[in-house]
Symmetry: C2
């Protein structure tokens, strides 16, 4: 099953095309004919140009409807005390998503995005929610192993999680989604994210490790030490076949099931020619892995916001992405990606709907 | 007529109440009971708290529907060469607003805001737009005088523009608006805005003068020199009765008709207990005047975005406002305020719609 499943991801990787620079150039030219000073839409002009390149069309199609996929998983490293929250909260929050009461439900309703919740690695029983929306059960393993002592998962498990993500992206596209947003839930998951970001950007652990849900100095020192231990263990003996610098090996060794699923979701979305809006630090870590495996994926990514986590900024810098929003958010779940969606959609609407100097009879010639 | 009209503004000033700190505190407490790490909604938590204080209710009402009022006026100082665009473009752009083809029309449609266009000081004939939406004719004067040589307008004209703004705010509220957004159109209007900001913040002209629609170094030097000339003229002989430091005198001497109308719109909105979302540098200049006259207005303001104009940041710093967006926009028209609207609305929806730890059965207690 591992090998059949793995091939979904491999096929998605093979199908990722370079974006269309010609369409991007046509949109850039058109933007200069619109009734506005040149460049005055600032970052929205770059966003519209990127949407054109992704969709291979000018003007770009409006990236709607949108689907935010929230992948949930637990983390063995929690036993090392990296977070004050118990693993049960992952399952409880999944139930909260089902009931529609979480932050991502609220903001997705605001911006008109569909929410898909996928259990790829929740460790504890998900409380029943009478009348709640469906949780997609693609559970691969009830939480990862403690990555400080051994690989978080096997290559086979990582492959199944990658495939789950590809499947969710394909299903969203089949249901009509024209924009994919990343979401995640997993108590402790800023720890594997920081580990992945440290390895894949080459930055020191202390620089890319943040406060997660808001831990104190003492717990932060523990978190840094645990991640350094994990990196030492990984480099000395990744515990699995393959080069310890290979992104897939790094993902299996130091990642999480929901992170692996996000990698699949990102690559799957790119293979379908859809823009992918990244949420926070978990998504940024997944994007580093995705781009490590399929470099052309970078151009399909839009960073929704700058998370308060320092690792997010390190990862986005490495990817050459400048986020749309900077609101000091650190909730995760996909909330920051959802909040950026109206702005991303507006960037495409400007190109499609604004008058040109010529059509509006506005003087473009000036001294 | 001047005095009857002026009393509208004066009455609005008298009706501005301090916001409700109790409602703000109740929303702050409620935010900590929602199913999220404390403070993890970052800037949105401050925004929700502010909306509560303004509306005197917790949870705050969703600030919708929203109206963006675009006030248009021309500027005598244009003859000094501060902008490469001719004054006719103001009238042409007003026609473009009527036809629905401008940036603000597009983004207002995206975010569900009504657009109201008001001519308070357009100098040239507005081209007819068959089937276009109505332009509200409240023209007070066909453009200001050149503020570098004499007061831009009389105190009476400024008073009528203030009243026009109050009227537009009141009419929007009567039509159901629960959130007011500022917009402006006026070729050359970053020049009076920079002059107002320099006087009212005490910052050097060179620090608060920007590139407007994108002028070159040579023209920027002219713009700075013209503003310095205007400030010298104002301080030596404001050309009108009253203290040259009085905000209303400063407004009449160095402002613009659309800027004065925005001051009225802002104070009018605050007097009605509505949140006012500021667009860019023109709105920031108007807000400085409004707060100079009625200090309690500050707490009714939300800065939609950080304009690329340096004067905007100087003014917002002076007002103690941190903008929601930072997208390098410099289009004006209300576009930045509109783009921030979904985020502001989402901040209130989080408070109203998110589950609490107790209601969702999520463990709030942790080690």
């Amino acid at each position: 099953m591992g090998s059949t499943a793995a091939s979904l991801f491999d096929r998605a990787v093979a199908r990722v095309r370079p974006v269309d620079r010609g369409a991007a150039a046509r949109t850039a030219e058109h933007l200069d004919r619109l009734t506005k000073p040149q460049g005055s839409l600032g970052r929205l002009e770059e966003t519209a140009i990127r949407l054109s390149a992704i969709a291979r069309m000018s003007p770009p199609p409006i990236p709607a409807p949108a689907t935010v996929a929230v992948f949930a998983g637990d983390h063995g490293v929690l036993e090392r005390g990296v977070s004050p929250w118990p693993a049960e909260v992952t399952a409880q929050m999944v139930a909260n998503f089902s009931a529609g009461g979480a932050g991502v439900n609220v903001v997705a309703a605001c911006v008109g995005a569909d929410v898909v919740v996928v259990d790829v690695g929740v460790a504890t029983a998900i409380p029943e929610v009478p009348g709640g929306s469906r949780i997609r059960d693609m559970n691969i393993r009830r939480g990862t192993a403690d990555l400080s002592g051994r690989p978080a998962m096997t290559i086979g498990e990582a492959g199944r999680a990658l495939d789950a993500g590809v499947t969710v992206a394909a299903d969203a596209a089949s249901s009509g989604a024209r924009c994919l947003l990343t979401g995640d839930m997993g108590i402790g998951n800023t720890t594997p994210s920081a580990a992945l970001i440290a390895v894949l950007t080459g930055r020191p652990v202390r620089e890319v490790t943040g406060r997660g849900t808001g831990i104190d100095d003492e717990r932060w020192e523990i978190k840094v030490a645990v991640i350094e231990e994990a990196l030492g263990r990984h480099v000395l003996d990744p515990g699995m076949p393959g080069d310890p610098g290979d992104p897939l090996t790094v993902l299996a060794s130091l990642g999480g099931l929901e992170i692996a699923a996000l990698v699949g979701f990102i690559v799957g979305g790119a293979s379908l020619g859809l823009p992918i809006v990244l949420d926070g630090v978990i998504a940024a870590a997944a994007a580093l892995v995705a781009v490590g495996i399929a470099p052309d994926v970078t151009d399909y990514l839009i960073a929704g916001h700058r998370s308060a986590e320092p690792g997010a900024t390190a990862a986005l810098d490495h990817l050459g992405l400048e986020p749309i929003l900077d609101l000091d958010l650190r909730l995760g779940e996909g909330t920051g990606a959802c909040l950026a969606l109206p702005i991303i959609q507006a960037s495409a609407r400007f190109v499609r709907d604004m008058a040109t100097f010529e059509s509006a009879g506005v003087s473009a010639d000036h001294a």
